[in-house]
């Protein structure tokens, strides 16, 4: 099937106006939230229903053309980067909330529904805990693909702990129902976080939980991140599991404060946000304890949110940190490394050393409870060689995280951006086992090829005569 035949078929399936091929229209979809990667697809298909998604995938399969599913495009690892000569399937029209069933503690939604819309659909009694900073716009389909986290996952867990059912279209167009409690392999668990490489979810069933009775939030200011880290250790060692525990360093406080004017102390070396939620009496008792522990760890100033508005402002400042970085630097690389929390001071010290060595500024915003760092490596693309130096520094930071016993990514995913670091964490036999899973789901490698795995690889053939693979023909992959 030629490219133009495929496009005609997609137009027949989705409607002409929902298949984009004009270069200007395609440019909108050329990148996701990680703008340094850009690729123009053959076409963008915007199906409206699960049936249309299935038909589009099947058409791609029959044409031997790879495809990439895209939600809201807020991902920070290039996971939704299109494939040249492939089809980008944008799921933004699948935004129905299909069922809200609070007696089952569950909702059923289409993948294009935003993360926040799910909590809204079950409010005021329930909520959906995983809350990435982009929750206002990011789609639940993207959350499922990336196994998204957020500020509240130290206590509440990740997307994978909340997905209880999926309808998935495999790369040959087969529709599979995956159910968390169905006997057999946990296909659901394998699918969540697979970054769009095993298929595309067209219906998602999620567990929701009761809204906590009480929420108490404070922000404590410390001399430096080390002192704030001591406070985190003291809190966790006391057996307290905060709903959220987040840290910002001096540079990120400065940037975020300029954006939100929340009154964060600009003379502080670190700000620690601690939020406790739960039953009233539990929350009150623990909150007193947390304030004491912060003071003992050297907090200079502890501010307690006295109203929902004050709490919202504390969070607005934290969640604005990435976007606000534009106020102090023209561009930045964001990393997503994870370390064992107890190695925090040591790794932050190492990052400082590296930043000094490279003559670049690194701001740090992180989920302190689970050791997920978000170092923002600031640079100016106008200065010669600086983007390359920043990228190199970002890479060394990731390596430092892995050397400390951590991970290259805590919530942003591998995508295209971090696949080169995969060998830091995984050996060849480990990667081979990953490939076995991928081949079971997508033996032809059509679903989001070129992501996650450090080198493109093809699946061993099922017995039969050798045929050239579409990706070999396109020069995208070679046979091992």
């Amino acid at each position: 099937m030629s490219a133009s035949t495929l496009v005609s078929r997609l137009e027949a399936l989705c409607g002409e106006e929902y298949v984009l091929t004009h270069p200007h229209a395609l440019a909108t979809y050329g990148s996701d939230g990680l703008a340094q990667y850009h690729q123009t697809p053959l076409a963008v298909a915007r199906p409206a229903t699960a049936e249309q998604v299935q038909a589009v995938v099947r058409a791609c399969f029959e044409a031997g053309v790879p495809w990439v599913a895209r939600g809201a495009g807020t991902g920070l690892s290039g996971g939704a980067l299109p494939v040249a000569e492939g089809v980008l399937i944008a799921l933004s029209r699948l935004r129905r909330i299909i069922a809200v069933d609070l007696d089952d503690g569950a909702v059923v939604v289409e993948p294009g529904v935003t993360n926040l819309a799910i909590s809204r659909a079950v409010s005021p009694t329930h909520f959906y805990p995983p809350d990435p900073s982009s929750q206002v716009v990011c789609s639940i389909g993207g959350n499922v693909a990336e196994n998204s986290g957020g500020a509240h996952c130290f206590k509440y867990g990740f997307t994978t702990n909340y997905v209880i059912g999926l309808e998935v279209v495999l790369s040959d167009g087969t529709v599979v129902e995956l159910d968390r409690d169905a006997p057999g392999y946990d296909l659901l668990g394998a699918f969540v976080g697979s970054e769009g490489t095993l298929g595309v979810a067209t219906r998602i069933k999620l567990r929701v939980v009761p809204v906590p009775e009480s929420v108490r939030t404070l922000v404590a200011f410390f001399e430096d991140t080390s002192a704030a880290g001591d406070a985190v250790t003291a809190i966790v060692s006391a057996g307290i599991v905060p709903g959220a525990i987040e840290m910002m360093d001096r540079l990120s406080i400065k940037a975020a404060e300029q954006a939100t004017h929340a009154g964060y102390r600009l003379d502080a070396g670190a700000a620690l946000i601690v939020e406790l939620d739960g039953p009233e009496e539990e929350c009150t008792a623990r909150f007193e304890h947390v304030m004491t522990l912060c003071s003992e760890a050297g907090a200079r100033d502890v501010r307690v949110a006295q109203s929902d508005a004050e709490r919202a402002l504390i969070w607005k400042t934290r969640k604005a940190a990435f976007a606000a970085m534009g106020r102090i630097a023209p561009a930045y690389y964001v990393q997503d490394g994870v370390i064992p929390r107890t190695r925090l001071s040591e790794v932050l010290g190492r990052i400082d050393e590296l930043a000094t060595e490279y003559g670049l500024r690194v701001a740090n915003v992180f989920h302190a409870g689970d050791g997920n760092l978000h170092p923002l490596v600031c640079y100016d693309a106008a200065r010669e060689g600086e983007p390359e130096r920043a990228e190199e520094l970002a890479g060394l930071i990731v390596k430092a995280c892995v050397e400390a016993g951590g991970s290259i990514t805590g919530e942003h995913g591998v995508g295209v951006d971090k696949k080169r670091y995969m060998p830091e964490m995984f050996s060849e036999p480990d990667l081979d086992a990953f490939q076995r899973l991928r081949c079971a789901f997508d033996p032809h490698g059509l679903a989001n090829p070129g992501k996650v795995m450090p080198t493109p690889r093809l699946c061993g053939e099922v017995p039969g005569p050798y045929r050239e693979h579409p990706l070999e023909r396109a020069g995208v992959a070679e046979r091992f």
């Binding site: 392999y185 976080g193 039953p279 994870v338 991970s407």
Partner: protein
């Protein structure tokens, strides 16, 4: 050993403590049994990070004793794993491989939710790791979830990296009883929707009478259990009380997840159909324990009532036969999985991970 067996064309039966050995379908006799008993090291306990690395043959009860010294626990409490019990032979490898859990699943999830990473041996001798040792990690495919609950059919779990939680200083439980399945189920539903952060929320049904048990932990568990008790009274349950002396209550719930004489069926159903599951069990003179908010129930019936129970279950419910005498086990497919694309996909996975069919042949769904 696995590679050697595969090369020689032998199959291998994998086991840990052997407490769930009979579960699954009856496979052919294997000439080789591979037991994880000597892989019994607690490799790491990182108290400050709330993580640990356990070899597969570590008894969960032994690991819990170690974690307790730091005021921590692995939030898994299946049968045969209570610290200090002489019968606590269940190993972490076996528990993860079968996906077994207990009442704490209500709050903390199943093994798949607590395993951060895993090292496995595949049937060609490859040793492969996935996941990591930190709480938060999305690098690579989550093979640990695939192996959790796979009944050893993809390879041998060598070690698991797990997330730990603070061990509560104290617990208290609210409980109440009723004779009408709908009243009992509705009482459980009202607790599931309440913002009490229960550690466990169980139902029980024995001899025409049911009960709800809600366990609280934390700063003042008895006070919270009293609040839960009030909700049970409001829902129409009788004999309602709140007690701090609750260990035996929960041990009994765990014991209800096994059957030495009869047949035990694990039922998964929508939580809102719990009353129908209780009615089905009552019709078959069965007893039930289960996780009310998760829709997971363990129903014990006489061996000759298994078929009838499966027929009486509400629409959409699934039953898996766990314990049963051999003659019952051989007469029916314990998994009850229908042919379809999901099963086909599972077969593809088996083929990719264990192409020679060395590991635990034919014990799993669809003859895998």
């Amino acid at each position: 050993m696995l590679a050697r067996a595969t090369a020689d064309g032998h199959t291998v039966r994998l086991l840990g403590g052997g407490t769930k050995y009979s579960w699954g379908a009856t496979g052919p006799e294997s000439p080789i049994e591979l037991c994880t008993g000597r892989l019994a090291r607690i490799v790491e306990h990182n108290a400050g990070d709330l993580t640990a690395v356990l070899e597969a043959g570590v008894r969960l009860s032994d690991a819990q004793e170690r974690f307790a010294t730091a005021g921590q626990m692995l939030a898994l409490d299946p049968p045969f794993a209570s610290a200090g019990s002489s019968e606590a032979a269940a190993t972490i490898g076996g528990i993860v491989a079968t996906g077994d859990s207990g009442p704490l699943r209500h709050r903390y999830g199943a093994p798949r939710d607590l395993v951060l990473g895993m090292t496995v041996a595949l049937s060609d001798g490859t040793i492969s790791q996935s996941g990591g040792k930190v709480i938060k990690n999305v690098a690579g495919y989550d093979l640990a979830k695939l192996f959790a609950g796979s009944f050893g059919t993809l390879g041998l779990i060598l070690s698991v990296n797990v997330r730990l939680h603070p061990k509560p200083a104290g617990n208290a439980t609210a409980l109440g009883a009723g004779e009408d399945p709908e009243t009992v189920a509705a009482a459980a539903r009202s607790l599931a929707a309440a913002p009490l952060e229960l550690d466990a929320l169980d139902i029980a049904w024995r001899a025409g009478r049911g009960g709800v048990l809600a366990r609280c932990a934390g700063a003042d568990p008895l006070k919270r259990a009293q609040r839960a008790a009030q909700l049970l009274r409001d829902a129409g349950l009788r004999d309602v009380e709140a007690t701090s002396e609750d260990d035996a209550l929960w041990e009994r719930q765990r014991a209800g997840q096994r059957s030495s004489e009869g047949a035990l069926v694990r039922v998964s159903a929508r939580p809102s159909t719990l009353a129908d599951v209780l009615r089905a069990a009552a019709l078959c003179d069965g007893t039930v324990v289960g996780r009310a908010a998760l829709g997971v129930s363990y129903v014990e019936v006489a061996p000759d009532s298994v078929q009838r129970l499966l027929g009486e279950l509400p629409e959409g419910a699934r039953g898996v036969l766990l314990d049963a005498p051999a003659q019952v086990r051989s007469a029916i497919d314990p998994w009850g999985v229908q042919e379809g694309p999901a099963l086909e996909l599972m077969r593809q996975i088996k083929t990719r991970f264990d192409p020679a069919g060395t590991c635990n042949p034919r014990v799993f769904v669809g003859g895998i």
